[in-house]
Symmetry: C2
Subunit: 327 residues, 2 copies
């Protein structure tokens, strides 16, 4: 390993001069040349640890994700990474594997590594989270979930669900099943359901039933047949695309034709929803863009610039073949 002292000796100058050359650059042309030559010859790069030790902070933004194998997560990470690179920050991914304790642990680990900021893609914010945020002296940004005291970037779950509700009413559906998730998840479990419920208020001759499942495709697959048998809805509104995919599979297994026998919708706008047959009608969220927004936002926080507490990313309904018109 060559160090700054080696470079200094080889160039016949002091350490501080080399350091100055590398940073501000108040160095005469002659010595610049000398140092440049030596650095090129040796292929020297400064030791990042020594720099960070002195600087007491880094340009690293830690990003904690609940899982890596999810379209939403991946796209969000891509957006974050893209934007951070542009802002000269680096992304450090920390996977908590849908494990609450690991998630908390990761917060502390990142803090210990002196990251400049933390982006948290959480499904749920607990007391332990708040405690961790308070203890560490690092700005935190939530993505996908909101909280009254923490900066966040969220998707417009409420209005997406509202518009989706309006749309299926337009299509004439009267027997509607909504398949949601746990209310611990404010965004997906609460907001989407609220938006949907609100849209249902505009009509009175509809029968709407609400069910709950997990985020797991296979669990949806198991739960759906029962819903179909007992309630016989004309449409199944699923709180995520994955649930919708499970529902479609379940319907296919039962020999039902989508959308003739049963319409299905999702939320998310995963790429796969356009590739299957029939295509799935869904509300598309802009994960990558939200990731970019999150990156810009956390950097603002790091730089102590002004930022809205709540930042909303938009959505777009995508109409495909999985919804039939009832006449």
């Amino acid at each position: 390993m060559t160090t700054i002292a080696d470079i200094a000796k080889l160039a016949g100058v002091a350490k501080s001069t080399v350091s100055r050359y590398l940073n501000d650059g108040s160095v005469s042309e002659g010595t610049k040349k000398k140092i440049e030559r030596v650095i090129n010859e040796t292929g020297y790069t400064p030791n990042a640890f020594a720099q960070s030790l002195k600087a007491k902070n880094t340009n690293i933004i830690g990003t904690i994700v609940p899982r890596l194998d999810s379209y939403a997560t991946s796209r969000t990470l891509i957006g974050i990474d893209e934007q951070l690179k542009e802002l000269n920050y680096q992304m450090l991914i920390s996977n908590s594997n849908q494990h609450l304790e690991t998630e908390i642990e990761n917060i502390y680990t990142l803090a210990k590594q002196k990251v400049a900021g933390i982006i948290l893609l959480a499904a749920e914010i607990t007391e332990m989270h708040l405690e961790a945020f308070a203890k560490i002296d690092v700005p935190v940004l939530l993505v996908g979930q909101q909280h009254e005291h923490i900066y966040s970037v969220i998707h417009d779950d409420y209005h997406a669900a509202y518009e989706m509700g309006k749309y299926i009413l337009d299509k004439g559906h009267k027997k509607i099943a909504y398949l949601g998730v746990t209310e611990k998840d404010i965004a997906v479990g609460v907001k989407r359901k609220q938006g949907f419920k609100e849209s249902m208020k505009s009509t009175s001759d509809c029968e709407v039933k609400y069910y709950e499942t997990s985020f797991n495709i296979t669990e949806a697959l198991e739960k759906v047949p029962e819903i179909i048998d007992s309630f016989q809805p004309s449409i199944l509104v699923c709180a995520t695309d994955n649930i919708a995919l499970g529902a479609m599979k379940a319907a296919s297994i039962k020999g039902l034709n989508i959308p003739k026998d049963l319409s299905i919708t999702g939320f998310g706008g995963y790429e796969i929803t356009g590739m299957i047959h029939p295509g799935l009608t869904t509300a598309k969220f802009f994960y990558q863009e939200a990731g970019q927004l999150a990156a810009r936002s956390i950097v603002k926080l790091v730089r102590q610039e002004e930022l809205e507490l709540l930042n909303v990313s938009s959505f777009q309904l995508i109409f495909r073949e999985s919804v039939d018109s009832i006449v």
Copy 2:
């Protein structure tokens, strides 16, 4: 920020004693208690940079991925992460966004950050890669691709394709289209094709044609109709599940029934292939397990232990509804 000097002062001992307490632990019971109390009170954690600066290396394994939004990548990362945690190493993900130059850059960046080792999920190994590996003094492990001089963990692409070929011959197919990818990708582009070709040698009354597309779903979607029209195969063997998904969509759009009018197979074993209708017959690779193997392997390299140059992860054919029998 509290430092080890603060702790030492508060506990009334020397810095070195605190350090010893934190590491080997050759400290008397009495002082242990004192130090422990102070550390608990202050919530002190050692500065990772100072430690790394002295230690001259880290327990971080850098993992370079070509893209984040791929099932194979995600699963592999999960496996790596899981296993590294167990071995007390940390994973640092670096995304090259399918950009060769970024990939090379990332190699150098990771080396500069003094990672203990690098796992590279590459699609292609160029001269620039080899040059980078030679320059940096960090062990490197390839995943998914092999190279005569570099340690690697690969999937058994050759035999998976061979078995797949055998299977579809068994099913009686005679007009077979193979839709592959660029031969720059040794694993997917070359090995799968080779294995498949080998299996085709066992018969003489088959017409087999080879085509090429990209890894992109939409490109497959565009290319497939032409293949169907000009060649009219009874089966389309796709080199990846994504290509197969594109092909299925294309077939659906043309109004073809899968598998009656056209059989389709893939490679990969993505979860979604079991969720669509009809289910896709595919060769499943064990990405997560391969990731774990990769983690164990890179750690062996870091510790300068013995390791085979080539480590092969197995596969399993999954038979679903997308392949018909020709009688």
